[in-house]
Symmetry: D2
Subunit: 152 residues, 4 copies
């Protein structure tokens, strides 16, 4: 929901900074999320599909798909704005059950203003053969963290 | 993302059936979700707040808040439609960082048609004193599972 | 999309102020929208159903239903925040074709923060007998107008 | 909200069929909407900016921007599914006030299933110099019209 301080300047710094943030998110660590790529305004987040993230039919739980979209959107918006942000809202359309070996969320900032970024994300599921299938599409608003709360 | 077979008739049966479904969702078990109440068209889902579901600032991760909303919406819609369903889409607005002892998602079906239900959900965070604060609002579409996939 | 200066203090002033704003919206005048009620955080907007707002099957065009929701959400949020606002985003679920004599959008602010309000709206269609049927549900974010643009 | 019978086969037929549908939408005619391009799964809808579609600050009313997105999404989904459809839901993020000479909504089907299509749309405003600026982004669900209602 927040990806603060991803305000590093060099590409390497942005990526390593993003990984530090993910490593400090106990929930992301719990489900094994990995930051595959991060540049200002763009993010690719992976979640290896293990039994623990499934629902009763063996598909990845929708909540995990929405987590992946939420987090990827926040990274894309946070790096685009270059300052501490918070995810204000997002919507997601599920189009296919997530069955495969890896969940891949790709997000980008489509509009970057002074105080917010509107980002979009597609979540794919990759099978063992490396093929990818779209399983969800999301769109949301990433906003600068109100000053009051950004003190840390 | 799906809450199938919650088609039991008696209130007790609906609730116990709902608990069975939750118990068969490895991800829900992983984060300790509890079904507090379930009647046709209404659901209350709890998630005790533990360190493992937090993000880097100690708040509950937005992905967990969206999971709670997603799952509660699905239960509300599934029990309203009385047949296997799937969450087609939803949107969520985060309004306050989730800090407290328990996440509480309350959802209800606002419209129930022949093939879909439109549901709304509010996610609250309860503190140790029992006080509740709204932290997110969601709205989404729960649809009957396409026949093809509903065979089990 | 914006409902500025609805910062009057007395109930009467809020309502008459709101009507002034509507009267200054050429598009709202074009389709005959009427402000039926307005109090801080709550709004009821009507649109008499005439042939000019229909689509090819005689139903009210979805774009008019979304206009009614958008405008009602903005009034609810603008009066709740008491300062110039802008509609940042909203989502709408259409649940029934709008057939009747009058479109009625009722919106309220569900959460009011320092810089934004999250509002919900239901759009009903009233028939000649006075009966009402729900035809759409919406949820959106109304935000304070950035200072820069609020100069007029 | 519905764009039925856009099931023509040749590109020319799809486009002329789409124009017929628009011409039969009194509301679209009222605000002067024009179908600039239509191919299976893709649509470009224009709305010349005239005083009658503005709000109180001279910007195009958000309701007209949402109408353009709604209609473009429906055309994209309807031509992708090739059968009578209905817009189930959509969300829109406004990113910039619409000021210019022409509103341009471009939509495409991002996912096409057996019973629904998930589409995205960007709404731009074109100025007299021909430059375009993004003013809104939308995403929504276009579904096949329930058989019951598709008889005409």
């Amino acid at each position: 929901m927040t990806a603060d301080d991803i305000d590093a300047t060099s590409p390497e710094a942005v990526f390593s900074r993003g990984r530090d943030v993910l490593a400090r998110q106990p929930f992301s660590v719990l489900i094994g999320a990995e930051l595959a790529a991060l540049t200002p305004g763009q993010c690719e987040l992976h979640v290896p599909i293990t039994d623990q993230i499934r629902q009763q039919h063996g598909f990845v739980h929708g909540g995990v798909v929405s987590y992946a979209a939420d987090n990827a959107l926040t990274y894309a918006g946070g790096t685009a704005l270059g300052r501490p942000v918070i995810t204000s809202e997002f919507k997601i359309n599920y189009v296919r059950p997530a069955v495969g070996s890896r969940l891949i969320a790709r997000a980008r900032a489509e509009y970057v203003g002074r105080t917010q970024a509107v980002c979009r994300c597609e979540v794919f599921v990759r099978d063992d053969a490396g093929g990818e299938k779209l399983c969800a599409l999301a769109q949301g608003t990433i906003a600068l963290l109100p000053q009051r709360s950004s003190k840390r």
